[in-house]
Symmetry: C2
Subunit: 344 residues, 2 copies
Amino acid sequence: MRAILIHGAGDIRVAEVPDPIIKEPTDAVVRVLRACICGSDLWPYASKPVTPGGDRIGHEFLGVIEDVGSGVSGFKRGDVVVAPFVYSDGTCEFCREGLHTSCPHGGLWAREGVDGGQGEAVRVPHAQGTLVKLPVGEDAALLPSLLTLSDVFPTGYHCAKTAGVNERTTVTVIGDGAVGLSAVLSAKRLGAERIILMGRHKERTDLGREFGATDVVEERGAEGVERVRELTGGVGTHAVLECVGLEQAVDTAFGVVRDGGSISRVGVPQFDKVSYGFPEFFRNITLTGGVAPARAYIEELMQDILEGTIRPGLVFDRAVGLDEVADGYRAMADREALKVMIQP
Amino acid sequence: MRAILIHGAGDIRVAEVPDPIIKEPTDAVVRVLRACICGSDLWPYASKPVTPGGDRIGHEFLGVIEDVGSGVSGFKRGDVVVAPFVYSDGTCEFCREGLHTSCPHGGLWAREGVDGGQGEAVRVPHAQGTLVKLPVGEDAALLPSLLTLSDVFPTGYHCAKTAGVNERTTVTVIGDGAVGLSAVLSAKRLGAERIILMGRHKERTDLGREFGATDVVEERGAEGVERVRELTGGVGTHAVLECVGLEQAVDTAFGVVRDGGSISRVGVPQFDKVSYGFPEFFRNITLTGGVAPARAYIEELMQDILEGTIRPGLVFDRAVGLDEVADGYRAMADREALKVMIQP
C-alpha cells in the first residue's frame, strides 16, 4: 500500500509501505477514506531533522474496517469509522472519566511502530476503545464534516468546554486557523452570544462569522487587546480560547480576559512558562485546556453533524490525492490553504 | 485611639492615631472587637523598607458599628459586623457576580488613606457593600470563628471551590498554615472524602486531621510527591490546593496533581511565571484560584459557624492585646504561633 512519509523538514513523500495486518487481538485494520493535514503536522514540516528512510505521519482519518482482531467486538468488516487523534483502551479510569488522552495504554499515531493516518490503511491499536462507528456509507457527502471529529472540531470544542463557555459567557477566540474556527463553532454551539474572533485572513474570518463570530478583530498585540477591550466595555471577555500555541497569543489572552475569567489553550505550546504571578493572582485568572480527549466528544458532536445543524467540514478548502500531499503541506505552511483533506 | 503601625521590617509598634470619622456618605466607623495577623502580613514584616512615621497594617477584623454615613442603609450603631479583607461597593458587575476583589471602587485596607484593621477602630469605605451583619452579641464565644470570615476561611474555601472540589474529587492540600488548614476544612465541607495534607508541624497537621484530613504527608519536594502518588495508586489527586505561594509549592503541586486535575493557588505568589508548556498541556492541568473574594462567601459560611457544625476559629492559638501585637508578629514569623488574634 501507499502512505505518506516525512524525511525531514519540508520533505514529504509518498511511498510503498507494507500492508497493515492484525498484530494484537485488540487491533483493527482500517482502509482510509479520508485523512487530513493538521496544523500540528506543520511543526515537523518546519523543523524535523533529516530522517533517512522517512517516518509515517498523520493522525486524523476515517475509513472502513477491513479486519478486526479476535478481541474486538462491536465492529465488523465494512463498518465506516472515525479515529480520534489519540488511541486509547476505553476501559481505564481515565478513559471512563473522559480523559482518553491520559490512557496508560493509549498513544499517538505514527510513533513507535504505530501507523500514521496519512496513507491507504492503518492498523488501529485498541480498536474497540478507539474507533467510533459512523452511520453513513463510504460515499457520504458528510465525510468531510465527520472527518473533523478526529481532531480539529473536538479540539475547538475542548477549548470552549474547559473555558466554561455557556450562554452567559462572552468569548474571545485567538487564531483564525482551523482550530480557532472550530472553537468559534463550539462556543456558538454552547450558547455564547458574543464571540469575538481575532484573526486577519478575511476568507477565514468570513467563515468564522458563518460559524458564529459576532465580531472580528484584525489587529494583533497591544492594539488587538485594546480593540477587544473597547468592544467589551473595557473589561474583556469571560472566556478566551487560545488556538495558536505561541507565547504572543498567550500574552494577548491575558490582555483580553476579564477578571475572574478563563484562558483555555489547545494549540501545542511553543513555550515552557507563562506569567502567573501577582497580577494574574489578583485578577483570578484561570488557565486551562490542553490536548483534547477527542474520543470523549465524538458521539455528542456527531449527532449535530448527522442532523445537519453544523458543518465543521467547511474548514477544508482543498482536497488532494496522495501524490499531491506534499503540495498540500506547502499550501498550508504558506497559508494558501486553511486545511487540506486527503483522499487516498 | 490606638492602632498598630509598621515602621519597617520587624518593627511593629502601637501608637496613638486620630479617631476615624465618616468622610464619605458611604462610610461607616467600626469599633474593632477582634482583629488578627495574616500570613501575608509577614511579607512586609520580613522585608518592608524603613518607613518613618509608620504605616497602618491589618486587613481582618470584626467589630461594632459606631457611626454610619447618610448613604448607608441596613446598618445601625451597635450592629456587630465582619469586614472582608477587600472592601467593595456591592453593586458593580463584578460584585454582583461574586468577584468583589475586582470591584473598581474597592480596595485593600491600610492603603491610600484607608485604615488598617489592627487597631481600635476603622473607617470602612463602601460600608453597605462591604460589611456583613453578624447575629451575635459583642461577647459571643463564636467571635474567633466569625473573625475567620474576614479572610483565612473564605480564602481556603475559594481555593477548594475554584479547584472544583466535590464529593468525587480526591484532594491534596499543600501547606499546614492557617490557610492550608482552612482549605482542608473547606474541602471536607464540599464533600471530599480523601484529603491529603502536606505539612510537617505536628500540632498543625493534628488540627488538619480534626478539620478533615485523612492523610498527612510530612515529606517535602520529590519525596513528598512520591508519597502522595503512593497514596493515590500512582496518579495523584484531582484537586491540589496550593496554600503557600512559593515556587517550590507550585512544583510540588504539579507533581501531585492527577492528569485532568486542577491546581488552585491562594497564597500570595512569590514568583512571576509557572511551567505551563508541553507536559502540562498533554496532562490537561488547570491552574486556577487567586485572591479570594471573601465577601462572596461570608453569608454561606457564617451559617455553618452559627450552627456550630464547623469551628474555623481553632486556627487561632494565641490571643494578644494591642501592646503585645509586636510579639504576636514575632511568634508567627518564628512559627511559634499558627495564627494570632488581637483583642484591642
